[in-house]
């Protein structure tokens, strides 16, 4: 064993090096002065879900109120009520779409299971509010964000989604066209039923 005290001296040298290093090496002094500057979130970052809409914040929502996300949501923070028409028939859009993001645990499962790419994860994290109740219970209108926003925060992923949707739409249209062609030839068929893609 070496001289007693050498271990302590080694430690002292190490801390002294870090002390000096913190003045010269940004690798050591990694702290960011947060409110003034903040690190940009990585592209994959996720925080809370939002609803994607195309063009119109209300009408353009991609959500069809299928409630898969409500069922799969582990902490069960999603609450969906589908829109009904006057006759009580279920329409394929939500009347109420609430997420209690004080309960939400950012797991992304809603976004993953959604067959319609209607719900995606936001990167916004500065969510402090002054009110204790209700401020973090987000309603449909709070949750609705445009597809442009989605493209901005997750460019790669959004591009994939857009491509997939476009492909879907193209396939649908092709199918519809084919059906229309088929229907047009035998008889007049009810037309707009196939218009189910948002």
């Amino acid at each position: 064993m070496s001289v007693p005290g050498s271990g302590i001296l080694k430690g002292l040298v190490e801390t002294a090096r870090n002390f000096a290093g913190s003045y010269v090496s940004p690798e050591r002094l990694v702290t960011v002065q947060y409110p003034e500057e903040s690190l940009p979130p990585p592209e994959n970052a996720r925080n809370f879900p939002f609803l994607v809409y195309d063009e119109d914040p209300d009408k353009g929502l991609r959500c069809v109120a299928c409630k898969i996300c409500e069922k799969e949501c582990p902490p069960q923070c999603i609450y969906i009520v589908a829109e009904r028409d006057e006759k009580g028939k279920v329409l394929k859009r939500p009347r109420i779409f609430d997420i209690d993001i004080s309960v939400c645990m950012n797991c992304q499962i809603c976004a993953e299971v959604c067959p319609f790419d209607a719900i995606k994860m936001d990167t916004e994290f500065e969510l402090s509010r002054y009110e204790r109740f209700g401020a973090l219970l987000l309603h449909k209108q709070d949750l609705a964000k445009s597809n442009e926003y989605y493209r901005r925060i997750h460019p790669t992923e959004a591009a994939e989604v857009d491509a997939r949707l476009a492909e879907d739409r193209a396939r649908q249209q092709a199918k519809a066209a084919a059906a229309k062609a088929a229907a047009a030839s035998p008889a007049g068929a009810p037309a707009p039923a196939a218009d189910k893609t948002p």
């Binding site: 271990g7 430690g11 801390t15």
Partner: protein
């Protein structure tokens, strides 16, 4: 100072005429690593009885899981040992894959190894930081560990979207593929890590005070460790060669060349040093994995997100998590929800021998012994 009332039953071995002092360390105490409580009876400063009290963080995890789909439980596993969400995911995914007979593609296996070993690095580094903080090191080692941990967490965030609650693995693979840029960043982190380890080494391993504090303290004998089914670095520090990566060879661990360090005395110092050495071994695994990772798919095509119903049966899947053997026991009746869901948390089981290690030691020792067990209350209480 109040003595234990004379009518109270005295612990075995306490001299009758001693004045015993009963203090409650926790649940709000700086060194109990969460809301954990130790009812300690002291003779002077010597521990004569120690009762661990936990359950303050109980979240009904196992019962909840029986009421939700297999996938929905995945993010909850993140919250078991919230330092090591990746390995938690992995253990759960492994169990479900066994149940459903899914095959994980090669690339996903590599990714799992990479994130798993990164998790081990960050867990061990922080644990040593916490432990020395318990010894009173004013958090300097802890801050260094956190500095390095940030780098790994950055990697996790850019991979999975979240720093700690990754929810990254899926049955039959992983959720997102990693990019070449990510691989580059990971290599840099791995290459930089030894420098940090050397720094740690200089700061701690031959430090006389650390050695004096931790050598010969909290000895866990080999037999007791085995009998109490202690696992992980704790067990290996007591000299038992038992590492699931070698024993089960789950995943693709048989493709990597690494060694398992073993302790000899089973004291706190050994536990620190075993974790040190394991970090170095993890780095060799990481280098190999980052070098050899193949291209390909990352998810078994048979896997499906919605309407996942494994066949009926029961299964136990386990991995070598940083804290020890983490196992999931699942019973399926063929429905979308597990019939029974049970976690074998290493923290809890390693904690059961706390009293045995602490008896006859001083309070200050009890604190670092608890630290050296490496618990996370999320996992202990579930």
């Amino acid at each position: 100072m109040s003595a234990a009332p004379p009518s109270a039953p005295l612990p075995a071995g306490a001299a009758i005429d001693r004045d015993l002092l009963e203090i409650s360390l926790g649940p709000h105490h700086p060194s109990t690593h969460g809301v954990f409580r130790m009812d300690v009876v002291l003779d002077g400063e010597r521990v004569v009885r120690l009762k661990p009290v936990f359950g303050y963080l109980h979240r009904n995890h196992e019962k909840l899981a029986e009421g939700m789909t297999y996938l929905s439980s995945m993010p909850f596993t993140d919250r078991l040992d919230y330092f090591c969400s990746m390995t938690n995911n992995w253990a759960y995914a492994l169990a479900v894959e066994k149940l459903a007979g899914l095959q994980v593609p090669d690339r996903a296996q590599y990714i799992r190894v990479i994130v798993g070993e990164l998790t081990r690095l960050l867990n061990h580094a922080c644990l040593i930081g916490f432990l020395t903080h318990d010894m009173g090191a004013m958090g300097t080692p802890l801050m260094y560990a956190f500095r390095e941990r940030e780098k790994i967490l950055d990697l996790f965030e850019s991979l999975s979207g979240s720093r700690m609650m990754c929810n990254y693995m899926r049955f039959g693979g992983c959720r997102v593929d990693l990019s070449p840029a990510w691989l580059q960043a990971a290599r840099k982190v791995v290459d930089d890590f030894p420098r940090f380890l050397d720094e740690f080494d200089a700061l701690l391993t031959t430090n006389e005070i650390v050695m004096t504090r931790s050598q010969g303290v909290g000895i866990l004998p080999r037999e007791l460790a085995i009998n109490a089914s202690v696992t992980g670095p704790m067990l290996r520090a007591s000299g038992v060669d038992y590492d699931l990566r070698k024993v089960d060879r789950y995943g693709i661990y048989d493709r990597f060349d690494f060694r398992v360090p073993l302790g000899e005395h089973g004291d706190v110092y050994d536990r620190i040093m075993i974790r040190f050495l394991e970090m170095r071994e993890s780095l060799t695994i990481l280098r190999q994995a980052l070098r050899e990772i193949p291209p390909g798919p990352i998810l078994d095509p048979k896997s499906k997100l919605r309407g996942f119903r494994p066949r009926a049966g029961e299964v136990y899947g386990r991995i070598e998590a940083p804290k020890g053997e983490l196992g999931f026991y699942l019973v399926s009746d063929g429905s979308p929800n597990p019939y029974r869901y049970r976690v074998r948390p290493p923290s809890l089981i390693n904690l059961t021998i706390l009293e045995d290690m602490c008896l006859g030691q001083l309070v200050a020792d009890a604190v670092i012994i608890l630290g050296s067990v490496d618990i996370v209350l999320g996992e202990v209480d579930r």
